[in-house]
């Protein structure tokens, strides 16, 4: 026992200076820190900061919790380069980071309110972007993330009424600056062309197949809205490539006009992709001259769209060492780069990813396995050699296609099959969606989840709107141009003013509510803790 007491003495001595320092520093800690005294000790220690550091840094310090050493980097990253922010940088970035800080503070206070520490989803927020999702009830939802909202994306618009027969099977997006259009194939056999800015329906045409074929039996799997041809011909017409599960591919050009007027469908070119089997995936290459089709019992074949001829068919890989032959069942495919139509990647139902090179051989150049469920979505990096693959159990990974090496997985509690992956044309962001009805945005380099939006329905397709970003920037630029002649300092002040005012307001409101609550307590109970009384006093000093 003696020994024990001595040791404890020694401990207290050693900790003495620390305590004095701490008590000295606590005089200048913020009120939020007073709340933080409720935290367990090790967190509190992290919360207390020497007074010399700027306020913003102290905030960052608070976000650092020893249980998750990566949290610091994950939560606070530079909005421009996505790199972790060091303490020195913070001062400079303070203005830029303010929305992030404010958001963080909210989460922090929320954490403190529900006292037992709960882990929140760490989302550093998104760069400004606009994505459009299509779901199983035929709804089209627009998700936007804006800089001023702290980068949290949210559903902005919803087009269409929930109707299961209008379930979206395929969608294609013509991403031009002037008059962007959206083509959507529905389960009831209609193909709709929609203005992607306001959701106005331009044309709705029935999928004319062979006579006597029900649209439900022969759903559309592949849809492509051609881009360049529309730009060339300034007349309001567009060209569509559709492909149904039974292999009926057709190309048609449509006059885009008001839905009230009769739409003229002219120049239908149609052909049959396969004799038997079901087509499950189709893709058009970047130059829009070639298309590939593949499916269950259908080997991947590449077609020349101008001549409407099959130019290449894949050959099934040989039996394996046990003499077992895996039946062909392609579930997804994509061309590797926009310029080259010769190389493409296909994913199979037997969780294999295969790289084909049409100029080399008919069998896959390379193939590798990914996990244990079918590959459901593949997206390529336009400039680079990475591909993104998503499978039936919600695993998303990026792979270097030159070597077939797994670069890393995107971890984010994704629990449902991934149906679609989209790569943002300019920003280093990909979006994935699927049966768990979440739309997730990921950073490519760090492979971190930027944010997840709950969309309520099974999502089937997602596309990015690249023009949104441009608009934002131009708006911002024009604003600055207007203000510039006045005074630079003023502008800066304005900018700094707006943010802190917001931040200051919120705690004040909270204080008031606290006051009210405490007063009510007084009335009802006439019993209060010492702490509360102190806090009330402090506020009355305010």
């Amino acid at each position: 026992m003696i020994q024990i007491s001595r040791s404890s003495d020694a401990r207290s001595k050693s900790s003495d200076p620390e305590v004095t320092r701490r008590s000295g520093s606590t005089k200048k800690t913020s009120r939020v820190l007073a709340v933080s005294t409720l935290l367990p000790l090790y967190r509190r220690r992290a919360a207390i900061v020497p007074p010399s550091l700027p306020v913003a840094t102290s905030r960052f310090r608070r976000s650092f919790s020893p249980s998750h050493p990566h949290q610091f980097e994950a939560k606070v990253s530079c909005p421009i380069c996505k790199g972790p922010v060091r303490e020195k940088q913070v001062k400079g970035f303070k203005r830029l980071l303010l929305p992030f800080i404010a958001k963080e503070e909210q989460t922090q206070t929320a954490c403190n309110k529900t006292m037992p520490r709960t882990t929140t989803v760490e989302c550093p927020g998104c760069p400004p972007l606009r994505a459009i999702t299509f779901d199983s009830l035929g709804l089209i939802k627009v998700v936007e993330a804006r800089g001023e909202r702290g980068g949290a994306p949210s559903v902005v618009e919803r087009w269409g009424d929930p109707d299961a027969s209008k379930c979206v099977l395929a969608a294609s997006f013509d991403d031009t600056k002037h008059d962007p259009l959206l083509a959507v194939a529905r389960k009831n056999g209609l193909i709709e062309i929609i203005n992607s800015l306001n959701g106005d329906l331009h044309v709705s045409i029935p999928n004319v197949g062979d006579a006597g074929v029900q649209p439900e039996d022969d759903g559309i799997v592949g849809l492509h809205l051609f881009k360049r041809r529309r730009q060339e011909s300034l007349s309001r017409s567009c060209t569509l490539l559709t492909c149904s599960t039974k292999g009926n591919a057709s190309m048609r050009s449509i006059e885009v006009s008001n839905p009230a007027e009769s739409t003229s469908v002219d120049s239908i070119k149609s052909w049959n992709v396969c004799g038997s089997g079901t087509v499950l995936c189709s893709k058009v290459d970047g130059n829009e001259k070639y298309a590939l089709f593949g499916g269950k019992g259908v080997e991947v074949n590449v077609w020349d769209l101008e001549m409407c001829t099959k130019i290449w068919t894949a050959k099934a890989p040989p039996k394996n060492s046990l003499g077992i032959f895996t039946p062909t069942w392609f579930t997804s495919a994509t061309f590797l780069s926009t310029d080259d139509h010769r190389k493409f990647v296909a994913g199979t139902n037997s969780h294999q990813v295969r790289l084909y090179d049409t100029s080399a051989q008919r069998r896959p150049v390379m193939s590798f396995d990914f996990r244990e469920t079918p590959i459901k979505a593949i997206a390529e990096e336009p400039e680079g050699y990475n591909i993104y693959i998503g499978n039936g159990s919600g695993d998303l990974a990026s792979v270097d296609i030159r070597t077939g090496k797994l670069l890393g997985c995107f971890l984010g509690k994704c629990s449902g099959s991934i149906r679609s992956i989209a790569r943002h044309p300019t920003l280093p962001v990909i979006a994935s969606c699927g049966l768990d009805s979440y739309l997730r945005f990921w950073d490519i380099k760090t492979r971190q989840l930027l944010s997840a939006v709950f969309m309520k329905q099974h999502l089937l397709e997602v596309v990015f709107d690249s023009n949104f970003d441009d608009k934002e920037v131009t708006h911002a630029a024009s604003d600055v141009l207007v203000q510039e002649p006045q005074n630079m300092d003023e502008i800066q002040e304005d900018e700094t003013e707006t943010e802190p005012v917001k931040r200051k307001k919120t705690p004040k409101v909270k204080d008031e509510s606290k006051k009210r609550a405490s007063k009510e307590n007084e009335e009802s109970k006439k019993l209060k803790s010492k702490k509360k009384s102190k806090r009330v006093k402090a506020e009355s000093d305010d």
Binding site: I4, T26, K27, R31, T114, L139, P162, G394, T496, A538
Partner: protein, 356 residues
């Protein structure tokens, strides 16, 4: 402006500091006490620990007594008794979940109308269940199946034989079954349950544990052949809602209340507890000083006042616990199946996160 802000911040700092000082001091004092975990001798440690525990217990008892006394006094004085503190549990500090269903969500109802169970739940099809087992099945397995058949009306047991599950699904589709239940047994003990909605409904895979058969329940009752009532508790999120509907589609939607038979699926912290009860309403003679309601009734008729209706429960049938492992889109397909929800280890980072 920046300067201004700093000033106010500084004020806050000073104010916060005052209350902080005390807290830190007190915590510091506590630190100096000898914690039992610091004692190395086990015997002494356990003595100290026992002492502390006893003290804690006494303290708690004192607190409770004081509270009760307070309440009593308040009642005597005719005041409102102070509200009882709600204990903090894992459920009521559950992590915020945006997927929790709201009654005003029109998309939810539209989704419900469109989903695979709607034809059964709207009574367009009568539920007809095919029950089967895994390939090797003995002792507890068949007994469990028998009892499950007693719980779920219109359930037909088929011997598994050596058929593939996919072929069984095809067969059941042809024979107009609405769902399939597969009981998986391991070492003669049922340990998994597979529910497949037909014709294209989802497949739910549950872990089954804590199985208690009817025989092992004391004072158990024997169920009648009436269609049971169904109680589904706490299926709150979208996933939970879907699982709830899957379970609901196993039972007929027109219960016979004469049978007074209830099957309960109660979800708590993602575990689904199944119980099967018979209930009865009994009228008992009540004592004079009961409540005001009775006195009001007194004015109407004296006979009613003396009688009080109580419900009594008797448990019958099996008792077991389910835990969802995965929910698959479409019918059973292990190789090419797509999952709507799979449990992954990375989801288990918090005790307060629940999915159902």
């Amino acid at each position: 402006m920046g300067v201004k802000r700093k000033k106010s911040e500084a004020e806050e700092l000073v104010e916060g500091g005052k209350s902080n000082d005390k807290n830190i001091e007190s915590s510091y004092k506590k630190k100096r006490e000898i914690l039992p975990s610091m004692i190395k001798n086990k015997e002494k440690r356990s003595i100290v620990h026992a002492k502390m525990k006893q003290e804690k217990k006494l303290e708690k008892r004192k607190k409770l007594k004081a509270r009760d006394a307070n309440e009593k006094r308040a009642l005597e004085l005719g005041e409102e008794p102070p509200p009882r503190a709600i204990p903090r549990t894992i459920e009521n500090t559950r992590e915020l979940d945006e997927t929790v269903c709201r009654p005003d969500d029109e998309e939810l109802f539209a989704g419900n109308d469109a989903d695979e169970f709607s034809s059964v739940l709207k009574q367009e099809r009568t539920p007809k269940i095919l029950m089967t087992t895994c390939r090797y099945n003995s002792t507890r397995g068949p007994a469990f199946i028998k009892e499950l058949q007693a719980v779920i009306p219109n359930a037909h047991y088929f011997k598994r034989g050596t058929y593939d599950l996919k072929k069984i699904v095809d067969y059941a589709n042809k024979k107009d079954f609405t769902s399939i239940i597969v009981v998986h047994t391991n070492r003669r003990e049922p340990d998994a349950l597979l529910m497949i909605g037909l014709p294209n409904g989802p497949t739910a895979h549950f872990k089954l544990s804590k199985l208690v058969l009817r025989k092992e329940i004391k004072n158990h009752g024997n169920p009648t052949g009436h269609k049971p009532e169904l109680v589904l508790n706490n299926f709150t999120t979208r996933l939970g809602h879907r699982i709830g509907r899957l379970i609901q589609s196993l039972f007929p939607q027109d219960p016979e209340f004469r049978g007074r038979r209830v099957a309960t699926f109660h979800n708590q912290r993602d575990f689904i507890f199944f119980r099967h009860h018979r209930y009865i309403f009994e009228s008992k003679e009540s004592k004079g000083s009961d409540s005001k309601v009775k006195k009001v009734k007194d004015a109407k008729g004296e006979k009613i006042a003396q009688e009080r209706v109580i419900a009594r429960l008797q448990e019958c049938g099996p008792r077991f616990t389910l835990k969802l492992i995965s929910l698959q889109h479409g019918t059973f397909d292990t190789k090419g199946g797509e999952f709507e929800w799979v449990h992954k280890p990375e989801m288990d980072t918090s005790r307060r996160r629940f999915f159902l």
